[in-house]
Symmetry: C2
Subunit: 160 residues, 2 copies
Amino acid sequence: MADHSNEFFTVRGYTMQNQDNQKLTSGMEDYLEMIFRLCGEKGYTRMSDLAGALNVQPPSAHKMVKKLAKGNYLNYEKYGLIHLTPAGWELGKELLARHQTLEKFLRLVGVSANILEDTEKIEHNISKETLECIFHFVRYAEINPHWISEFQSYKQNKQP
Amino acid sequence: MADHSNEFFTVRGYTMQNQDNQKLTSGMEDYLEMIFRLCGEKGYTRMSDLAGALNVQPPSAHKMVKKLAKGNYLNYEKYGLIHLTPAGWELGKELLARHQTLEKFLRLVGVSANILEDTEKIEHNISKETLECIFHFVRYAEINPHWISEFQSYKQNKQP
DNA sequence: AATTAGAATTAGATGCAGCTAACATTAATA
DNA sequence: TATTAATGTTAGCTGCATCTAATTCTAATT
């Protein structure tokens, strides 16, 4: 049971360690999160909407959807609509919440451009613990606006 | 000159957009950062030390080193030692600093396990702006210990 | 100096996620 | 209904980063 917590790995290395343990790849997470967003209104979404929303070509979306279907996150039949299963819905909800927590956090510390991109990059595979810590941070900052604004005004004076 | 700042992409999508602009891949960054660490003491490092430090097999390290050599980040001849070029040294220093900023940040918000792993995951390709914001946050927290400890003690009461 | 042990390299395979081009299906319209 | 337009699928290629197995080179030991 090697304990790797003090060892370095490349990004790829971490990915591979997690792939065993039933987790989704970053790519799958991206898709599932977006499918959840798109399903929000109508309860379903289409291949082309998904591809369009993620700026990806339809064949790429198609492959991923088949993969997610095999993992029982959604139901899909050829030429049909994409419907999340309860499991997919749950996970999608979590993924979106995670995304939003990180986005809020970035805004709090003053990021203004590239928020979407940076959120996207950070959100995958950060540990539950880290997410929780950031979540608490965001929560605390929301409850105590004066507290975070201390920092924010310091920062504003730093950079004109 | 498409402006994509409000559009969604998958992680892969963002990676590809940046690949054009002469930047290093995450993998290359991981290696360069580690090479910089390892060179610190002796001024050079070896293939096997590098592979060992990153928990990767020698052939993987070998390929990457050749790539970095082609990009003029280091000098390497067959069976020889790995020496950073001035450019590689500069960049390596930056990468390590980035890593340390993120690591400090995670500690400040209370992350204790998996720090290394999460830092690794976050550090690649977050924008300069985000890094700067986090840097200022860390700096402010260091200068004003009472400020951050307000949050920390709130958090401690939350989770026993 | 010859042999052996340890490092480094090459070759070739794998998996992920993207793409284009070509083909198939469904839906809309004339 | 027949044709066309729009969507979806399949096949096959690319690039990145990993691996194993086999080979080559260097260094150490006798």
